[in-house]
């Protein structure tokens, strides 16, 4: 260092670094623990108190071998991926078009319609009325109920609209003189200039779907085969721990795998979490853009 620092400053920086290291430890430790626990010797794991920093006794991948055969876990995984893909496509199409319509200054009714739509941010029917509506639309117990509700959000429409309003109108007019239709203008002129917003909306939609277990709890009362991953996980690691004797257990643990119960839980958590944890560092810049964008707008 070129400039000499005062001792008080050095002390402060030292405390600062220690605090940050502690925070990092707190963020990382539970995730490290679950990975290590999942490959530990199951007998030692069952009696080990506290955090598992390194595989106990010996490295044991049997828990993973066992869960490979859990068809329900993998089909739930597939369901989630399917739900995310469909949601993203629908969100992309509808939000883009809604953003386009509501960003057209020449559209006379845009403010009135915007008010109608924004009102839903302020007030909603609540859990049971929503359930009744889904039921009377015959959406409950179908895959559609995991896709359609929540496809359009006012917040997304607003950030899309704002970013489209910022595209210079000259570009649109030029394209129109060349004979482009609205869809053509949207696709070739406006959308390429709103790529960042588009990516952010997709990302938030995907994360929300990935996280969602509550709508499955409400809207898929009997169709376990349609459960998303989070719902299957909930049955494996939470409901099962609370009520071992429950006959509705997603996993029927055979005698030989009872000893692996804890390791299996961790293994299920790991296979459903690690992929995301490997992807997010590469997409985090979009989150940063998205959050700042949302704050500036709202």
């Amino acid at each position: 260092m070129k400039i000499k620092e005062k001792p008080s400053r050095i002390l402060f920086l030292l405390i600062d670094v220690i605090a940050l290291l502690l925070i990092t430890y707190a963020c990382l430790m539970p995730i490290w623990h679950m990975v290590m626990a999942s490959i530990s010797n199951p007998t030692s794991l069952n009696t080990h108190p506290g955090i598992v920093y390194f595989p106990l006794k010996n490295v044991d991948f049997n828990a993973y071998k066992i869960i490979l055969q859990y068809k329900k876990l993998w089909s739930a995984y597939g369901n989630t991926i399917l739900y995310i893909l469909c949601t993203c496509v629908l969100t992309a199409v509808l939000t883009t078009i809604a953003g386009y319509i509501f960003s057209r200054k020449r559209f006379y009714y845009r403010n009135s319609f915007m008010i109608i739509i924004s009102f839903t941010m302020l007030f909603n029917g609540g859990m049971i009325p929503n359930y009744i509506v889904m039921k009377s639309l015959h959406l409950t117990d179908t895959p559609l109920v995991m896709i359609i509700p929540g496809v359009l959000s006012v917040f997304n429409i607003i950030i899309m609209r704002t970013s489209m309003e910022n595209v210079p109108t000259e570009l649109e007019e030029a394209a129109r003189i060349d004979g482009a239709t609205d869809l053509r203008i949207l696709w070739s002129v406006i959308l390429p200039l709103c790529k960042a917003t588009f990516a952010v909306i997709m990302l938030f939609a995907a994360v929300a779907k990935w996280n969602d277990y509550f709508s499955a709890l409400l809207y898929l009362p009997t169709r376990r085969d349609l459960y998303p991953l989070q719902m299957a996980l909930r049955e494996i690691v939470i409901t099962a721990t609370a009520d071992v004797s429950s006959s509705s257990n997603l996993l029927d643990l055979s005698e030989s795998s009872t000893v692996y119960k804890k390791a299996i839980e961790y293994a299920c958590i790991v296979v459903s979490t690690l992929p995301i944890l490997c992807i997010y560092p590469f997409v985090q810049k979009y989150f940063v853009t998205g959050i700042t964008m949302g704050a500036v707008k709202s």
């Binding site: 005062k6 402060f12 920086l13 600062d16 670094v17 940050l20 990092t24 963020c27 539970p30 995730i31 623990h33 506290g50 955090i51 509808l94 078009i97 319509i101 559209f107 006379y108 739509i117 924004s118 839903t120 941010m121 302020l122 007030f123 909603n124 029917g125 609540g126 859990m127 049971i128 009325p129 929503n130 359930y131 509506v133 359609i148 496809v151 359009l152 239709t181 609205d182 869809l183 994360v207 277990y213 509550f214 409400l218 989070q230 996980l233 909930r234 690691v237 721990t241 609370a242 839980e265 958590i269 995301i276 944890l277 997010y280 985090q284 940063v288 959050i291 700042t292 704050a295 709202s298």
Partner: protein, 328 residues
Amino acid sequence: MKREDRLHKKPEPALQGFRVGGGLRNLPHNFGLDLRRNKALYLFLTVILTYFILFHYLPMFGILMSFEKFSPVKGILGSKWIGFDNFIVFFSGPYAGRLIKNTALIGVLDLLINFPAPIIFALLLNEIRQNHFKKTVQTISYMPYFVSTVVAASLVINFTKSGGAISESLKFMTGGSSENLLNLPSWFKPIYILMGTWQGMGYGSIIYLAALSNVDQELYDAAKVDGAGYWKQMWHITLPGISAMIVMMFIMRMGTVFSVGADKILLLYNPSTYDTADVINTYVYRIGMQDMNFGLSTAVGLFNSVIGTILLLTSNSVLKKLSGTSMF
């Protein structure tokens, strides 16, 4: 209208509908023509409006259930009308006080702890000039946000049950016995709030770090020339630089203080902790989806929505007065 008048009159912005295609600028609005010219746009507008009507306005109609002795067989229009009985049953029942108290307490505690946490984290991180370290800490701090709620809750359950990491270290510190903390009512709120801190601190700091990076660096240079120390710089430059953002975020969060979601609590609570853990939304879920008492459940939900809406409107108008921006 006389000819001169027509000439001198400014062209009216008579554009209604989408009105695109052709140079018919100042003709009176002709909805049929507009519709024919912009078929696609009107079609999509219809789709979007249909979505909001089906999934947002139709449920609002369902609120009528809160004034009925609702029976699924008779439907919303056929069920027996009982006025405010559902509300009276709820407010005179044994749970109303507990639910309102828990919801408000959890909301306020969450605001008091999980609102400042990301700001403090961002300020701590901002003092670090070593870029690699800063970037690494930042990236790791976002990690818990990408752990799903179910997984985070299961980690919490594992760590707080007897023999879990947190119960064990507590036993070590207090010398008591290692218990399942989630079965002790007094522990529920701290555990719930800390789970929120773990998940949201790093992610919540993103916005403040962005605001901090927008603070003019020349101000710091000028302050150094004037002999201001680090504390003075933080007090007079850094904090004022992000104070607008802090105020805005605080007011926005105020608006959602009473909307404590059911999803996280449902994963963590159990009958032995209902005393401190049960909030309005979890009660709505239990009464509605498990006991199938739709009328009462809708009434309680409506009470929650109305308070939520009032809070949102208040916080919005405060925001408008203070900063000129608003959410709606």
